[in-house]
Protein backbone atom coordinates (compact mmCIF):
# COMPACT_ATOMS: atom_id res chain seq x y z
CA UNK A 1 0.00 0.00 0.00
CA UNK A 2 1.50 3.32 -0.96
CA UNK A 3 2.00 6.03 1.66
CA UNK A 4 -0.49 8.30 -0.09
CA UNK A 5 -3.21 5.64 -0.12
CA UNK A 6 -2.52 4.85 3.53
CA UNK A 7 -2.83 8.52 4.44
CA UNK A 8 -6.15 8.82 2.57
CA UNK A 9 -7.56 5.71 4.24
CA UNK A 10 -6.48 6.92 7.67
CA UNK A 11 -8.05 10.35 7.02
CA UNK A 12 -11.35 8.77 5.96
CA UNK A 13 -11.37 6.47 8.98
CA UNK A 14 -10.58 9.33 11.38
CA UNK A 15 -13.35 11.45 9.88
CA UNK A 16 -15.81 8.57 10.21
CA UNK A 17 -14.78 7.90 13.79
CA UNK A 18 -15.02 11.54 14.79
CA UNK A 19 -18.48 11.79 13.32
CA UNK A 20 -19.88 9.53 16.04
CA UNK A 21 -21.60 10.99 19.06
CA UNK A 22 -18.77 10.30 21.47
CA UNK A 23 -16.47 12.57 19.54
CA UNK A 24 -18.75 15.12 17.98
CA UNK A 25 -19.90 18.17 19.89
CA UNK A 26 -22.82 17.30 22.15
CA UNK A 27 -25.02 20.04 20.81
CA UNK A 28 -24.38 21.13 17.27
CA UNK A 29 -26.00 24.03 15.54
CA UNK A 30 -28.80 23.11 13.17
CA UNK A 31 -29.54 26.47 11.67
CA UNK A 32 -32.51 25.58 9.50
CA UNK A 33 -35.93 24.70 10.84
CA UNK A 34 -36.27 20.94 10.46
CA UNK A 35 -39.14 19.31 8.67
CA UNK A 36 -41.83 18.10 11.05
CA UNK A 37 -41.00 14.44 10.53
CA UNK A 38 -37.35 15.04 11.51
CA UNK A 39 -38.11 16.76 14.80
CA UNK A 40 -37.53 15.06 18.14
CA UNK A 41 -39.49 15.74 21.34
CA UNK A 42 -38.01 18.39 23.60
CA UNK A 43 -36.93 16.59 26.81
CA UNK A 44 -39.36 17.35 29.63
CA UNK A 45 -38.15 19.18 32.71
CA UNK A 46 -39.39 21.02 35.76
CA UNK A 47 -37.47 24.05 37.02
CA UNK A 48 -38.22 26.93 39.34
CA UNK A 49 -38.71 30.53 38.34
CA UNK A 50 -37.61 33.59 40.33
CA UNK A 51 -40.76 33.49 42.46
CA UNK A 52 -40.09 29.87 43.45
CA UNK A 53 -42.86 28.47 41.30
CA UNK A 54 -42.16 25.11 39.65
CA UNK A 55 -42.57 25.32 35.90
CA UNK A 56 -42.87 22.34 33.59
CA UNK A 57 -41.93 22.63 29.95
CA UNK A 58 -45.07 20.62 29.19
CA UNK A 59 -47.08 23.64 30.33
CA UNK A 60 -46.16 25.31 27.04
CA UNK A 61 -47.38 22.57 24.75
CA UNK A 62 -49.53 24.09 22.01
CA UNK A 63 -47.25 27.13 21.83
CA UNK A 64 -44.09 27.83 19.89
CA UNK A 65 -41.33 28.13 22.50
CA UNK A 66 -37.94 29.77 22.25
CA UNK A 67 -35.93 28.00 24.95
CA UNK A 68 -32.76 29.95 25.63
CA UNK A 69 -29.94 28.54 27.76
CA UNK A 70 -27.89 31.50 28.94
CA UNK A 71 -25.92 32.90 31.90
CA UNK A 72 -25.22 36.29 33.42
CA UNK A 73 -21.48 35.88 32.72
CA UNK A 74 -22.11 35.18 29.03
CA UNK A 75 -21.64 38.41 27.10
CA UNK A 76 -22.93 37.02 23.76
CA UNK A 77 -26.14 35.99 25.57
CA UNK A 78 -26.65 39.63 26.50
CA UNK A 79 -26.81 40.52 22.81
CA UNK A 80 -29.69 38.14 22.17
CA UNK A 81 -31.80 38.96 25.23
CA UNK A 82 -33.21 42.24 23.82
CA UNK A 83 -34.13 40.36 20.60
CA UNK A 84 -35.98 37.75 22.61
CA UNK A 85 -37.74 40.44 24.64
CA UNK A 86 -38.92 41.97 21.39
CA UNK A 87 -40.15 38.59 20.09
CA UNK A 88 -41.95 37.94 23.37
CA UNK A 89 -43.73 41.27 23.05
CA UNK A 90 -44.61 40.89 19.38
CA UNK A 91 -45.66 37.24 19.21
CA UNK A 92 -47.01 36.49 22.70
CA UNK A 93 -50.62 36.85 21.52
CA UNK A 94 -50.04 34.39 18.70
CA UNK A 95 -49.08 31.40 20.81
CA UNK A 96 -45.41 32.13 21.37
CA UNK A 97 -43.34 32.18 24.55
CA UNK A 98 -39.70 32.81 25.36
CA UNK A 99 -38.36 30.77 28.27
CA UNK A 100 -34.86 31.53 29.52
CA UNK A 101 -32.92 28.92 31.46
CA UNK A 102 -30.08 30.47 33.42
CA UNK A 103 -27.07 28.18 33.90
CA UNK A 104 -25.54 30.37 36.62
CA UNK A 105 -24.02 28.27 39.38
CA UNK A 106 -24.46 31.14 41.83
CA UNK A 107 -28.23 31.01 41.43
CA UNK A 108 -30.80 33.71 41.97
CA UNK A 109 -28.40 35.97 43.89
CA UNK A 110 -26.81 36.90 40.56
CA UNK A 111 -29.71 36.15 38.21
CA UNK A 112 -32.36 38.31 39.87
CA UNK A 113 -30.33 41.56 39.73
CA UNK A 114 -29.54 40.81 36.08
CA UNK A 115 -33.22 40.29 35.23
CA UNK A 116 -34.01 43.59 36.89
CA UNK A 117 -31.16 45.43 35.21
CA UNK A 118 -32.15 44.27 31.72
CA UNK A 119 -35.90 44.42 32.51
CA UNK A 120 -36.38 40.97 31.00
CA UNK A 121 -40.04 40.50 30.09
CA UNK A 122 -40.12 36.72 29.75
CA UNK A 123 -39.92 33.91 32.25
CA UNK A 124 -36.52 32.91 33.55
CA UNK A 125 -35.93 29.53 35.15
CA UNK A 126 -32.87 28.43 37.08
CA UNK A 127 -31.23 25.54 35.24
CA UNK A 128 -28.96 22.78 36.46
CA UNK A 129 -26.55 20.24 35.01
CA UNK A 130 -29.24 17.59 34.80
CA UNK A 131 -31.40 19.68 32.49
CA UNK A 132 -28.31 20.77 30.58
CA UNK A 133 -27.46 17.11 29.97
CA UNK A 134 -31.00 16.42 28.76
CA UNK A 135 -30.39 19.05 26.11
CA UNK A 136 -27.07 17.64 24.95
CA UNK A 137 -24.73 19.15 27.51
CA UNK A 138 -25.18 22.80 26.58
CA UNK A 139 -21.40 23.28 26.71
CA UNK A 140 -21.54 26.61 24.94
CA UNK A 141 -23.78 29.55 25.68
CA UNK A 142 -25.99 30.89 24.35
CA UNK A 143 -27.71 27.73 23.10
CA UNK A 144 -31.24 28.25 21.90
CA UNK A 145 -33.88 25.70 20.96
CA UNK A 146 -36.97 26.54 18.95
CA UNK A 147 -39.76 24.18 19.92
CA UNK A 148 -42.91 23.75 17.85
CA UNK A 149 -46.49 23.61 19.08
CA UNK A 150 -46.26 19.82 19.37
CA UNK A 151 -43.36 20.13 21.81
CA UNK A 152 -40.73 19.06 19.29
CA UNK A 153 -37.36 20.67 18.65
CA UNK A 154 -37.45 22.44 15.31
CA UNK A 155 -34.03 24.09 15.36
CA UNK A 156 -30.97 24.60 17.53
CA UNK A 157 -28.80 27.70 17.56
CA UNK A 158 -25.40 27.73 19.28
CA UNK A 159 -23.63 31.02 19.90
CA UNK A 160 -24.19 34.19 17.95
CA UNK A 161 -24.24 32.26 14.73
CA UNK A 162 -27.44 33.79 13.45
CA UNK A 163 -28.92 37.23 13.59
CA UNK A 164 -32.14 38.59 14.97
CA UNK A 165 -33.96 38.37 11.64
CA UNK A 166 -32.98 34.72 11.23
CA UNK A 167 -34.61 33.97 14.58
CA UNK A 168 -37.65 35.99 13.65
CA UNK A 169 -38.05 34.13 10.35
CA UNK A 170 -37.80 30.78 12.11
CA UNK A 171 -40.40 31.81 14.69
CA UNK A 172 -42.77 33.08 12.00
CA UNK A 173 -42.30 29.88 10.03
CA UNK A 174 -43.21 27.80 13.09
CA UNK A 175 -46.19 29.99 13.95
CA UNK A 176 -47.32 29.88 10.35
CA UNK A 177 -46.96 26.11 10.04
CA UNK A 178 -49.67 25.53 12.56
CA UNK A 179 -51.81 28.58 11.82
CA UNK A 180 -54.23 26.58 9.67
CA UNK A 181 -54.96 24.33 12.63
CA UNK A 182 -54.96 27.03 15.27
CA UNK A 183 -56.60 29.84 13.33
CA UNK A 184 -53.61 32.13 13.99
CA UNK A 185 -52.57 34.91 11.63
CA UNK A 186 -50.95 34.00 8.30
CA UNK A 187 -47.26 34.65 7.55
CA UNK A 188 -47.62 38.04 5.87
CA UNK A 189 -49.59 39.38 8.81
CA UNK A 190 -47.07 38.00 11.28
CA UNK A 191 -44.08 39.48 9.49
CA UNK A 192 -45.80 42.82 8.98
CA UNK A 193 -46.66 43.06 12.66
CA UNK A 194 -43.08 42.19 13.55
CA UNK A 195 -41.57 45.11 11.66
Amino acid sequence: MSKTLSAILVSIAVAALCANTACSKAVTAQAAVKEGKDRKPAPPFTLKDSSGESVQLAKYKGKVVLLDFWATWCAPCKVEIPWFMEFQQQFKDRGFEVVGVSMDEDGWSVVKPYIEQLKINYRILLGNDEVGQLYGGVDSLPTTFLIDRQGKIASIHVGLERGKEDFRNDIVKLLETSHAASGAAPRDTLLASAK
Binding site: W73, P76, G159, E161
Partner: protein, 147 residues
Protein backbone atom coordinates in the same frame (compact mmCIF):
# COMPACT_ATOMS: atom_id res chain seq x y z
CA UNK B 1 -3.75 1.59 13.22
CA UNK B 2 -6.41 1.55 15.96
CA UNK B 3 -4.24 3.84 18.08
CA UNK B 4 -3.80 6.21 15.16
CA UNK B 5 -7.55 6.39 14.65
CA UNK B 6 -8.36 6.91 18.31
CA UNK B 7 -5.81 9.64 19.03
CA UNK B 8 -7.52 12.66 17.41
CA UNK B 9 -10.78 11.95 19.25
CA UNK B 10 -9.10 11.52 22.60
CA UNK B 11 -7.29 14.77 22.09
CA UNK B 12 -10.51 16.54 21.23
CA UNK B 13 -12.31 15.22 24.29
CA UNK B 14 -9.50 15.99 26.71
CA UNK B 15 -8.42 19.29 25.29
CA UNK B 16 -9.03 22.36 27.41
CA UNK B 17 -9.36 25.88 26.13
CA UNK B 18 -6.81 27.02 28.69
CA UNK B 19 -3.73 25.04 29.63
CA UNK B 20 -1.08 25.81 32.21
CA UNK B 21 2.45 24.49 31.90
CA UNK B 22 3.93 22.79 34.94
CA UNK B 23 5.84 25.55 36.72
CA UNK B 24 9.52 25.26 37.48
CA UNK B 25 10.49 23.91 40.88
CA UNK B 26 10.82 26.66 43.46
CA UNK B 27 13.93 26.53 45.63
CA UNK B 28 13.40 28.75 48.62
CA UNK B 29 15.16 29.33 51.90
CA UNK B 30 13.14 29.42 55.08
CA UNK B 31 12.31 33.02 55.92
CA UNK B 32 13.00 34.14 52.32
CA UNK B 33 10.80 34.86 49.30
CA UNK B 34 10.69 33.44 45.80
CA UNK B 35 8.66 33.73 42.63
CA UNK B 36 6.66 31.19 40.65
CA UNK B 37 5.61 31.92 37.08
CA UNK B 38 2.49 30.22 35.75
CA UNK B 39 2.53 30.12 31.98
CA UNK B 40 -1.00 29.90 30.60
CA UNK B 41 -1.97 29.34 27.00
CA UNK B 42 -5.37 29.80 25.42
CA UNK B 43 -6.65 28.02 22.37
CA UNK B 44 -6.59 30.27 19.28
CA UNK B 45 -9.72 32.38 18.99
CA UNK B 46 -10.56 32.17 22.69
CA UNK B 47 -10.00 34.65 25.50
CA UNK B 48 -10.63 34.74 29.25
CA UNK B 49 -11.82 37.72 31.21
CA UNK B 50 -8.94 39.52 32.87
CA UNK B 51 -8.63 39.74 36.64
CA UNK B 52 -10.35 43.13 36.41
CA UNK B 53 -13.29 42.90 33.98
CA UNK B 54 -15.34 46.07 33.59
CA UNK B 55 -18.74 44.37 33.68
CA UNK B 56 -19.84 43.33 37.18
CA UNK B 57 -21.44 40.14 35.83
CA UNK B 58 -18.32 38.84 34.09
CA UNK B 59 -16.26 36.25 35.92
CA UNK B 60 -12.69 37.46 36.55
CA UNK B 61 -9.58 35.34 36.20
CA UNK B 62 -8.67 34.37 39.75
CA UNK B 63 -5.69 32.53 41.20
CA UNK B 64 -5.79 31.29 44.78
CA UNK B 65 -3.23 29.24 46.69
CA UNK B 66 -3.49 26.95 49.69
CA UNK B 67 -2.40 28.68 52.90
CA UNK B 68 0.35 26.14 53.53
CA UNK B 69 3.22 25.38 53.23
CA UNK B 70 4.09 28.79 51.73
CA UNK B 71 2.60 32.22 52.33
CA UNK B 72 1.46 34.28 49.35
CA UNK B 73 3.00 37.76 49.35
CA UNK B 74 1.72 38.96 46.00
CA UNK B 75 0.02 37.73 42.84
CA UNK B 76 0.75 39.77 39.72
CA UNK B 77 -1.32 39.44 36.58
CA UNK B 78 -0.11 40.80 33.26
CA UNK B 79 -1.55 43.99 31.84
CA UNK B 80 -4.94 43.06 30.30
CA UNK B 81 -5.67 43.50 26.62
CA UNK B 82 -8.58 45.68 25.62
CA UNK B 83 -10.29 43.86 22.77
CA UNK B 84 -13.38 44.49 20.70
CA UNK B 85 -15.74 41.59 20.02
CA UNK B 86 -18.98 41.09 18.07
CA UNK B 87 -20.93 40.72 21.28
CA UNK B 88 -19.92 43.92 22.99
CA UNK B 89 -20.22 47.58 21.97
CA UNK B 90 -17.30 48.39 24.25
CA UNK B 91 -13.81 46.87 24.41
CA UNK B 92 -13.51 43.99 26.86
CA UNK B 93 -10.64 43.49 29.33
CA UNK B 94 -9.20 40.06 28.51
CA UNK B 95 -6.20 37.79 28.27
CA UNK B 96 -5.59 35.76 25.14
CA UNK B 97 -2.76 33.81 23.55
CA UNK B 98 -0.08 33.11 26.13
CA UNK B 99 0.38 35.00 29.36
CA UNK B 100 2.11 34.67 32.74
CA UNK B 101 0.86 35.09 36.26
CA UNK B 102 3.58 35.63 38.83
CA UNK B 103 3.15 34.65 42.45
CA UNK B 104 5.59 35.78 45.10
CA UNK B 105 5.73 33.32 47.97
CA UNK B 106 7.40 33.54 51.36
CA UNK B 107 8.60 30.48 53.23
CA UNK B 108 7.83 30.90 56.94
CA UNK B 109 10.95 30.63 59.11
CA UNK B 110 9.28 27.79 60.97
CA UNK B 111 8.85 25.74 57.77
CA UNK B 112 9.96 22.17 57.78
CA UNK B 113 12.88 21.73 55.34
CA UNK B 114 12.45 19.39 52.40
CA UNK B 115 10.23 18.98 49.36
CA UNK B 116 6.67 20.23 49.50
CA UNK B 117 3.79 20.66 47.11
CA UNK B 118 1.97 23.98 46.90
CA UNK B 119 -1.50 23.72 45.38
CA UNK B 120 -3.49 26.46 43.79
CA UNK B 121 -6.66 26.99 41.81
CA UNK B 122 -7.00 29.02 38.65
CA UNK B 123 -10.60 29.95 37.96
CA UNK B 124 -11.40 31.22 34.50
CA UNK B 125 -14.25 31.74 32.10
CA UNK B 126 -13.53 31.60 28.40
CA UNK B 127 -15.35 32.87 25.32
CA UNK B 128 -14.68 33.32 21.67
CA UNK B 129 -16.25 35.93 19.42
CA UNK B 130 -19.59 34.10 19.32
CA UNK B 131 -20.06 31.94 22.39
CA UNK B 132 -18.94 31.32 25.96
CA UNK B 133 -17.94 28.23 27.88
CA UNK B 134 -18.87 27.52 31.48
CA UNK B 135 -16.45 28.74 34.16
CA UNK B 136 -13.78 26.23 35.07
CA UNK B 137 -11.30 25.75 37.87
CA UNK B 138 -7.92 24.33 37.04
CA UNK B 139 -5.76 22.89 39.79
CA UNK B 140 -2.12 23.95 39.66
CA UNK B 141 0.79 22.51 41.59
CA UNK B 142 4.24 23.80 42.37
CA UNK B 143 7.01 21.71 43.82
CA UNK B 144 8.90 23.68 46.45
CA UNK B 145 12.31 22.79 47.81
CA UNK B 146 12.39 24.33 51.27
CA UNK B 147 15.95 24.84 52.45
Amino acid sequence: MALLLATPCLRAQNSDVLTVATPDRLSIKRGASGEVRLKAELRAGFHVNSNTPADEFLIPLRLTWAKEPLEVEQITFPKPQSEKYDFSPNPVSVFSGTFEIVTRFKAPPSSKPGMAIVTGKLRYQACNNKECLAPKTLEVRVTADLQ
